[in-house]
Structures are given as C-alpha cells and as structure tokens.
Amino acid sequence: MKIEIFDPAMCCSSGLCGPGVDPLLIKMNETVLALIKQGVEVQRYNLAQQPKEFMANKKVAELLHKKSKNVLPVTMVNGEVFKTGEYPCYEDICSKLGIKTFKNRPLTVIS
C-alpha cells in the first residue's frame, strides 16, 4: 500500500511555517500520520524542495505540462492518480485502499 503526495511549492508541508497556520495542511498532515500508523507507506514531495521528483514521475510530469500547477496537489494511490487539485480526505483514501478508518484517530476540528 503506497500513497504519494505531490504538494504545490510551499515552505513546508506541515502548514506551520509562514504567515499563519493552514488548517488544511494540518488536516492532511494528520491523515498522513494516521495512514503511516496503519502500515501504509507514505511519500510526500514538495515542488519547492524536490522538483526533480515531479519530473521523474511520468504521470505527474504529464499532468503538470497539460494542466500546469493548478493540478497540484496530486495524490497517487498505489501508483495511480487518485485526486488532483485538492487533498483527498482520510476516509476516501482508506476506502480506496480498502482499509478500515483508524478508530483512535481523534477527528481534526476545523471551524
């Protein structure tokens, strides 16, 4: 089980750097932590820091050329493009992977 997330160019994927805490990134970060706990392999690439990886992945490179940067973030599940333009939610990823949602994960509250 492998998830790869190709983030747009940003300071850091945690959402804590810069002008304010980005709740969306925090939520994604938490999703990632939960998936790792469930034994899913997760790789994250930040365009600003690892542009090479974006070109090395044929599917991502092609998407970038066709639809430009608005296609990011791109989430791939087991090598297939799963979601583009926004982050998927935890439940969707679990159902795609065919695993149960992690019971002990307290829900992230976003006001």
Binding site: P8, A9, M10, C11, C12, S13, S14, L16, C17, G18, P19, G20, V21, D22, P23, L24, I26, K27, N29, E30, L33, A34, K37, R44, N46, L47, A48, Q49, Q50, P51, K52, F54, M55, L64, H65, S68, K69, P73, E86, N104, R105, P106, T108, V109, I110, S111
Partner: protein, 607 residues
C-alpha cells in the same frame, strides 16, 4: 591555509574603516587578501571610492586586494538558480514562476546570504579573508545559524525526516558544511575576531555582551580596537576636555574588564575616505608610523569668515515636531531607522519622553537584538511592558522568548483538536529557525495592531535589517495569497491576507506612521539613509523627517582640529538639506553621554 578575520561591534564604531585598513595592511605586505561584507547596507564601495557589488572586485591602487559586498537579493537569485536552473527547460512556465515565488520567502533569503558567506570559508584562493560584518546582534545570529540549522536537521532526521528546508536526506551535505564552518570559527589558529568599540559606556557594554555570547557558542579568540579616542592636545576647550576625561575613564574600565589584546585609534579631524586615508589608518593600527608622528591632525588655514557663511546657508527653522509626531486620531507609530551607531536609540528615547510629557500614553519598543533602551533610561527593560515614568512604558522584543511564546500559543490553540502524534510532529516542525523569525515579527506587529497606547516609538535595528523586517508583511501577504484556495482553507487564507494588507496600509498611512531617519552629518550615514529612503518609497512608505545627530556646537569649535570637523559637518548638513528635501532636526552633541531618565528629559527640550 587561509586565515579568517572577523570584525564585529556596535554600529557606527568604525568596523568598516578598521576592516578595510587591516585588509590594506595585509595586501601591502604581499598577502593575497579578500574583504567581504555581509552587511545588507554595505559601505565598502563608499570607503574604497569605487564600485564593488556582488562580485570579487580588484581594488585599484592596491595589488593583492579584492573586495566583495554580498547582496542578499543577488545571493537569493543564485541560490534559486542552483535549485530551479535544471528545470527551466522541462517545466511549464507557471510552475517555474511558482517555484521562484516560493524560493524568495524570508527563510530563503536568510539561507541564501548565509550560504554565500559560508562559501568563502571553504576556499583557499586567498591567504587572508576579512569579514566586515553587520552590527553585533545580527552577526552573532549569523554565526549561530549553522549551529541552529545543524541541530534542526539532526532532530528532524530522527523524526519526520522533513524540515522546512526540505527533506533531511538532501540536506546532509549542507549540514556537513555548517558543521565545518562552525569548527573553523572555533579554530583560534585560523580565525580571529576583532571587536571594534568606541570609548563610550554603551559601546563597552555591547562589546562585553558580544564577546560573552560568542564564548557560549565556543568562539574564544579576540582582539579589541578602541576607536575614536580624542587626542589630548586638541582638548584644551572645556567642553571637549570633559568628553576626553569621560573617554579616558571608559578606556581604563575596558582595560580592566577585558583581557584581550588592544589597539588604540585616535579621532581624526576629518573622515577616513579613500585609499590614502586608509593607508594612514593601517600604519597607525599596526604601529608602522614614525614614532611621534601625528598624521591625524592636518594643518589647515582657518578661515572664520567662510565658516560663518556656510553656517548661514544651513536650513533655517526647526521642523514642526508637534505636527509630525503627535497623533491625530488613532495610535501613531514612530519609526527611527538609520545606520548603526548614529544614535537611533537615544533619539527614540528622547522622542518617547517628549510624547509622554505631552500626556500621551507612550510605549517604546526595541527590535534590536542588542537592545539598549534599558541602558539609556537606566531601568531594566524586558519582554513585558515596563513602566519607566508617567505615561511612558518600554518593552524589548526578545527573539528567543517570542519564539517560545509563539510555539506555546500554537500548541495551546491546537491542543484537543489533534492527535498526540500530530502534536508531536507539530512541535518538531515548530523548532525551525524559520519560525523564530516569524515569531519575532508576530510580536512586533501585535504592538502595531493593538490600540493600548497613543504613541508607539520603534527603536529599530540598523537600516538593512529594519528594511528586511518591514519587507516581511509584504512577503507574508504574498505567501498568504498563495495559500491553497479551498472551502476549508478559504477563511484562514482570507483572514491572513486581510491582516497583512491592513498592516501594509497602516505603514503607508503618513497620518498613522512616521518614518524618521537618524544620521550623522558624515558621508556614509547619508548614503545609507538615502538608500533606505528610496527603498521605503518603493514600498509606498514616505519618510517624513531627518534627524541630524551629534552636530558640533559652533561656539566650542575654536581650535583647528574642531574647526575642521565642524566645517566637514556644515558641508554635509547642506548636502542633507539638498539630497533629502525633508524637514531636518539638528540634534547637538552633548557634553555628557545621554544616560539616565533625567538626562533624557533634559535632552527632550530640543524638541
């Protein structure tokens, strides 16, 4: 093996002059020498009277000598290009643009300038490399950076493997580089630190502080140059005699307080500019002059009449201080900026006392990591607002404390909303040196945003760094714009954008914010302040006042030495008038250093 010599010290003590003279000394002795400045507001070109810029430039007239001014913007471009370059051809334009935008944030700029600086610590192309650094506080920060980054990379390697600079793996090389630089800095065989100071209380205090701070990161070497000592024979006038005696007292104090090799430099009757003048300084510094030769005093024919005529052309009338500095609805923010050592802190303190005396609730804030407002008022100022006198409060932004508070606040706000794993991951990420800058800035704007005071006086760090600080709201506004626009994130994005937009508007509103430049009537402070004014103008901020500090009182300048200095000042006061085209407030040189609340109150009469 290359030898590295760092010049450090409070702003305006003559670091650049001493560094240049030292560079000339070694070059004249046949050593291949490079002088590099890391000060974003560099004066090397002015001192050498030739263009230098962001490249190793041979200095004409001196073989073996090269100079370079690290330009933070250029360094950032180079840093960007190293990362983006390989992708220019193969990625769509808008992806490249977004990469460029992202790699121009505050963090990258700091990293890039540092990277360029550290590059020189690995080269063997020169025998001697002299670093003319930015004023103390920031230099120490620069030298601590490799330690901080190295630690951050190490910690992250054990945790998420992600740092805000990128994945740990790709940073291992950088970490090695930082570690090498750190060990080189500590190597007393290869690295020397020279502190330049003036025979003044504040300068001694800062030298002691800086040398202690360097010791805490393991840097122990050092020499002291005491610069600007009044020659005894020119002090036959009461006014200067008293100053001379005060200086001698501080020199004695320095001798007992600091056990380092010391060199002594006398004040000259004119400024040091150009190669010949620098050669003279070098000879004096390394005691190569003929014994007893007094080349700092040039005999000039004094023409009293000319002196008077020059004075009469000077700006007449005092600026309308009341109109400029007192609020007219809403809080008024007053910023003082300018070259290091021109007396920003003193002028800020005097201003704060002036507005407080007008019955306005005033807060004086310092953002200078080497804060002195407490020294001037003779009261303890810390990161909590402290009452100094009726209507007057003082506070210091302590970057380390701001950092801890900021982290705690974020963790507190998020506690209960997220899992423990998430909290742990967040804490790790929050330890980045990037966040430290954000935290200090956050604290700084909270003062601007609050309406708890009628007047807030900001005593800021020297020009280059102040401009960087003021760039931050623009940078952050832009970053907020780039936040991903989704229904969930939209609210945060909008709020953040609005917040920074409001701050920018506030800074640009001349009724709410006043920018004042403080300078000496001398060449380099004028050039540096002028650049600052242009930079501010480009950001839509108008400067409204120039304070010319340390103007010699005419009636005490009765011998050749001081007549020459006064004549030099007159020439520059005229230049200030023509060049800035702003109201100029002349602030006279006082017989005693302005220290203690009573002295500040006395000085406030000038307003």
């Amino acid at each position: 093996m290359t030898k590295y010599i760092f010049f450090s010290g409070k702003g305006g003590v003559g670091k650049t002059t001493m560094a240049c003279a030292t560079a000339i000394h070694y070059a004249l002795h046949g050593r291949k020498t490079l002088i590099v400045t890391t000060d974003p507001a560099s004066n090397l070109a002015d001192v050498f009277e030739q263009e230098i810029g962001h490249k190793e430039t041979p200095i004409s007239g001196i073989g073996n000598l090269h100079a370079m001014e690290i330009d933070p913007d250029e360094a950032t471009k180079e840093y960007q290009e190293r990362i983006i370059g390989p992708f220019r051809e193969i990625m769509p334009d808008d992806v490249i643009t977004s990469l460029e935008e992202n790699l121009s944030g505050p963090c990258t700029t700091e990293m890039a300038a540092f990277d360029r600086f550290i590059d020189f610590m690995g080269t063997d192309e020169y025998e001697i490399i002299i670093f003319d650094t930015a004023p103390t506080g920031h230099t120490i920060r620069l030298l601590e950076l490799p330690v901080d980054w190295s630690k951050h990379i190490e910690e992250s390697a054990q945790g998420s493997g992600q740092t805000c600079l990128g994945p740990v793996q790709s940073l291992q090389d950088s970490k090695d580089k930082y570690d090498r630089a750190t060990s080189l800095l500590k190597d007393t065989e290869r690295t020397d630190f020279i502190f330049v100071m003036r025979p003044e209380e504040l300068s001694l205090y800062e030298t002691l502080r800086a040398s202690k701070e360097l010791e805490t990161i393991g840097i122990n070497s050092g020499e002291i140059i005491i610069n600007g000592i009044l020659p005894e024979e020119v002090c036959e006038i009461e006014f200067f005699r008293k100053k001379y005696e005060a200086q001698q007292k501080i020199i004695k104090k320095t001798e007992t307080a600091i056990e380092k090799i010391k060199r002594y430099m006398l004040l000259r009757d004119n400024e040091v500019k150009g190669i010949d003048a620098l050669k003279g300084v070098a000879m004096e510094l390394f005691k190569e002059g003929v014994e007893g030769q007094r080349f700092w005093i040039k005999k000039h024919k004094t023409e009293d009449t000319r002196l008077k005529t020059e004075k009469s052309i000077l700006p007449s009338g005092k600026p309308d201080i009341e109109k400029l500095l007192l609020p007219s609805g809403g809080t008024k923010a007053i910023f003082f900026t300018g070259k290091g050592g021109v007396g920003k802190t003193t002028i800020s303190c005097v201003t704060a006392v002036y507005t407080a005396q007008k019955g306005l609730k005033t807060l004086i804030v310092t953002t200078d990591p080497a804060a002195h407002i407490g020294e001037v008022f003779d009261v303890k100022i810390n990161d909590e607002s402290t009452k100094i006198t009726e209507n007057l409060f003082g506070v210091m932004i302590d970057q380390d404390k701001a950092f801890i508070e900021y982290k705690e606040r974020i963790i507190e706000e998020t506690r209960g909303k997220y899992s423990d794993d998430m909290l742990a991951a967040m804490e790790e990420e929050l330890n980045s040196p990037c966040i430290a800058e954000m935290a200090a800035f956050d604290k700084f704007i909270r003062f601007i945003e609050s309406s708890a005071y009628d007047v807030i006086v900001f005593d800021t760090a020297p020009t280059g760094h102040t401009l960087r600080l003021l760039d931050l709201p623009f940078d952050y506004a832009k970053q907020a714009e780039m936040m991903i626009d989704t229904t969930e994130g939209a609210k945060t994005k909008r709020e953040t954008e609005n917040r920074f937009q409001k701050i920018i508007e506030l800074l640009r509103n001349p009724k709410q914010t006043v920018f004042c430049l403080v300078l000496y009537p001398e060449s380099t402070p004028i050039i540096e302040s002028y650049r600052a004014m242009i930079d501010l103008k480009n950001a839509g901020i108008e400067t409204q006042l120039v304070v010319a500090n340390m103007v010699l009182p005419e009636e005490v300048c009765v011998n050749d030495f001081f007549k020459n200095r006064l004549r030099m000042q007159m020439r520059y006061l005229r230049e200030i008038q023509n060049k800035f085209n702003l109201p100029v407030l002349q602030f006279p040189m006082m017989q005693e250093e302005i220290k203690g609340l009573n002295q500040v109150i006395k000085a406030a009469v000038i307003f």
